[in-house]
């Protein structure tokens, strides 16, 4: 089989940091090739070099055996390689049609909007996308937006497409639909480079996998010949098994630290009863629209329920008031760390100690020394890779930023802990640290609610509540079978 895309001996430095150190990748025509590695392994840098956004310091990129075009020739690059970036390149204020043909709306002369819409509909139909071209792109769902980006990328005539963590923001059924599309594209002969933190996805959709670690190439091998633990070992540099949850027998007489009675929120969930005792972890599972995230956000006060009450550690904080919930003894990790998790420009120390600032000094004064000491301990506890407590959280990699968010949740030794999707976009090792942190907190006597789309995460739970269309439909004790859980989540279980 001929080689569609190749990078040889590519080195890229940013100041003192070496982002890529003499790495290579070789992607055969028509295959779906996985690129995996921990946060900071150099994946994103390789993407920007393969798409011609950055020039390698050393080494070269070849397409179909020919040298890559000059960096300035954007059109030539776009004819060879298409990319769906992690960060959206859709312009939310323009229509889908205009986004599809951005900067090529017309040849010469004025844009004929009718004609542009027709062309857009044609393109969307060609890829079987049921999206209205007249819609403003900001109104699209994440899934639709991604599909529009794929269609646009391919419309330049490229036969090679890079998908940079496309599944990170999608729920189960949407990922399934994306994979169907990827298979269809592969049948049409499209070559793909697929980047993901989810190794099961790699096994499901890819034929070959390349592993990078600490800016170096570690291995490239056919997926079929590579056992799961060897792949994990290649990524982490050590033979690490998947996370092993601890044995724990919750005390049925322990006090209830977090309780919801008759909780309901219009259009999200209804009649939810939930009680979490000290020393246990309760999982919440369900598909994208099941209401599990809204429920968790109500527990912490980010949302206000229409009916029912939330009790935290024996008291009822004012509904919809996060501050009151925190004061009652709650800690939480929000759904989207970039959005609600941290203030990127502030230091780890400040981010982690926001909820306890009042305990670090008197009369509104925050003692820097105390804050530093506290933050140092949290950094050690959670193994945050940073230059020190003063480093800005925005500079950290995904996994370490998420640890900083976890540190904030744990800063005040909460009695009740609510953790939403803690392992999204986080590498294998950070994932283990984060789950350990939750288990540690529970061993210290907290009660926790863990919401996750990642079924493996839910293994640490003593019981898992499954939600479907806004209702809790089933409770599964520890040791559930994955097939059973998925069946209930999809509404096909008994």
């Amino acid at each position: 089989m001929s080689i569609a895309v190749e990078a040889r001996n590519v080195t890229k430095r940013f100041g003192p940091t070496v982002a890529l150190d003499g790495v290579g990748i070789s992607i055969a025509e028509g295959e779906t090739h996985a690129l995996v590695g921990r946060n900071g392994a150099g994946k994103s840098t390789l993407v920007s070099i393969l798409t011609g956004l950055q020039r390698p310091d050393e080494g070269e990129v070849r397409f179909g055996g020919e040298p890559a075009p000059p960096i300035a020739d954007r059109d030539a690059w776009r004819r060879r390689v298409a990319c769906v970036y992690q960060k959206s390149t859709i312009i939310p204020t323009l229509t889908v049609a205009e986004n599809l043909f951005l900067n090529r709306q017309s040849g010469r002369g004025p844009i004929r909007w009718k004609n542009l819409r027709d062309r857009a509909n044609e393109l969307l139909a060609q890829y079987g996308l049921d999206v209205d071209a007249r819609l403003v792109a900001g109104e699209l769902s994440v899934e639709q937006r991604q599909l529009v980006e794929i269609a646009r990328a391919l419309s330049f005539g490229a036969r090679f497409i890079i998908l940079d963590e496309p599944t990170a923001q999608l729920d189960g059924p949407a990922i399934k639909r994306l994979f169907e599309r990827m298979r269809a594209l592969r049948e049409q002969g499209v070559t793909m480079l697929f980047i993901s933190h989810h190794l099961d996805e790699v096994y499901e959709i890819c034929q070959t996998v390349t592993v990078y670690r600490d800016a170096r190439h570690v291995l490239s091998a056919p997926v079929a010949d590579l056992p799961h633990d060897e792949l994990v070992a290649a990524m982490t540099g050590e033979a690490a098994a998947s996370y092993r949850s601890r044995d724990r027998t919750p005390d049925p007489a322990a006090p209830v630290v977090l309780q919801a009675t008759g909780l309901g929120l219009q259009g999200r969930y209804r009649e939810v009863n939930l009680s979490v005792r000290a020393g246990e972890i309760v999982g919440l599972a369900g598909s994208g629209g099941s209401g599990k995230v809204s429920l968790a956000e109500t527990l912490v006060g980010l949302r206000k329920a229409d009916t029912g009450t939330v009790t935290v550690n024996g008291s009822v904080p004012r509904p919809g008031d996060v501050t009151a919930a925190l004061r009652a003894g709650l800690g939480f990790v929000p759904r989207d760390r970039h959005h609600e998790g941290f203030v990127p420009l502030l230091s780890i120390a400040e981010n982690a100690t926001f909820p306890i600032a009042h305990k670090l000094g008197r009369f509104g004064v925050v003692s820097p020394a105390k804050r530093r000491a506290k933050a140092k301990r949290l950094i050690e506890d959670l193994a945050i890779k940073a230059s020190g407590p003063e480093q800005a959280v925005g500079e950290l990699s995904g996994g370490n930023a998420q640890k900083a968010v976890m540190a904030r949740a744990l800063a005040d030794d909460p009695k009740a802990l609510v953790v939403i999707n803690p392992t999204v976009g986080v590498d294998v090792k950070s994932k283990q640290v984060l789950l350990t942190a939750v288990e540690d907190a529970v061993d210290r006597g907290a009660g926790a609610v863990l919401v996750s789309d990642e079924l493996e995460d839910l293994r640490i739970c003593d019981r898992v509540l499954v939600m479907f269309h806004g209702r809790v439909v089933k409770e599964l004790p520890r040791g559930w079978a994955e097939a059973e859980l998925v069946a209930v989540m999809e509404g096909v279980g008994n």
Partner: protein, 332 residues
């Protein structure tokens, strides 16, 4: 949201989006009605032409500011350019005895010089913002003060009276029964609406304001476009200054002073987003007309001159609140 449901819900939203442009027309109609009831002179041709002509200078600044805002940037210095560009151009032409600079260039150069100075101011703003990546807000705030200071400095704080004949022409001439400035504004707005609505270069301004990284990835030369937009802004501000000078017959030391608040208000009332990427020039034009009518009605209603500023400002704030409520979305 599944694809099929979004397709269903999209239809009414699309219709709304098409009419958002026309959202201010009822307000304009209402103001005309109120004006007619307050004073019968309101609907006379003289008064209407007067309202329009008074708004021409403001509308040129709104045109400039709207384009800059759509590109996701900011320009506060426009109001100082309105004063400096004509003052400096005139200063280069008239004799030192009339507060000129003593260079005494030929009279016909005054207009080209005025426009050139405006363009240079815009180019300098662009240099600092695009090339040196400074914040547009702070750069143009600095320029606002520097340009005003320059004008006061070299005119000695004096108004310039002895202007070359050519300089007065555009602000006074009537073409086909209407003041030339109205024609100029009409043509420029029409050109702006067409370019921003139907040409690739115009659309790239929206793309840049909406998501500059995506625009760059799509092959748009973002730096070049933003720079052009700033130069255009300076040019339009200089033209506004030229028209104002012609209309008033002199260059006042504080010409243009305080206009920028009204400029922003008109643009935002007209639906131009302060966050970039959103809004139309037609909407902005409607915003200008709304403010112009309010101003005229307040004058006709005999509101005392001491109070007119407070009332005018309050009405602008009210209009912003109304725009926020009717659009249903947070104003950015």
């Amino acid at each position: 949201m599944t694809p099929s449901t979004s397709a269903v819900t999209s239809a009414p939203m699309l219709r709304l989006a098409r009419f958002r442009d026309l959202a201010l027309l009822p307000a304009i109609a209402l103001l005309v009605l109120v004006g007619a009831l307050i004073d019968s002179a309101f609907l006379s041709a003289d008064n209407i032409i007067n309202v329009l002509q008074q708004q021409t200078e403001l509308s040129l600044l709104v045109l400039a500011e709207s384009i800059i805002l759509i590109a996701g940037k900011f320009d506060l210095s426009l109001e100082s350019t309105v004063g400096l560009a004509p003052a400096l151009a005139v200063g280069l032409v008239i004799p030192a005895a009339s507060n000129g600079l003593g260079t005494e260039l030929p009279g016909w150069t005054a207009i080209p010089l005025c426009l050139l100075i405006g363009a240079l101011v815009g180019a300098f703003n662009g240099l600092l913002i695009v090339r040196f990546k400074l914040s547009a807000f702070i750069v143009t705030l600095g320029m606002l003060i520097v340009l005003r200071g320059l004008q006061i400095g070299f005119t000695g704080g004096q108004n310039l009276f002895e202007l070359p004949e050519s300089f007065l022409y555009l602000g006074n001439a009537r073409w086909l029964g209407l003041p030339a400035s109205i024609w100029i504004c009409g043509v420029l707005f029409a050109a702006g609406i067409v370019v921003l609505g139907y040409f690739r270069h115009g659309r790239s301004i929206y793309a840049i304001g909406g998501n500059i990284d995506a625009a760059r990835a799509a092959g748009i030369r973002t730096d070049q476009v933003v720079w052009t937009v700033f130069v255009l802004g300076g040019l339009l501000a200089a033209l506004a200054g030229l028209l104002m000078t012609g209309r008033l017959g002199s260059v006042a030391a504080d010409q243009g002073n305080g206009m920028i608040f009204t400029v922003f208000a008109a643009a935002v009332i007209g639906g131009v987003s302060m966050d970039g990427g959103k809004g139309t020039l037609f909407g902005a034009l409607c915003g200008v007309l709304v403010l112009g009518l309010i101003n005229n009605i307040l004058t006709l209603a005999g509101v005392s001159a001491q109070w007119i500023q407070a009332i005018y400002g309050a009405i602008i704030l009210l209009a912003l609140i109304m725009a926020r409520l009717t659009s249903g979305k947070a104003q950015d």
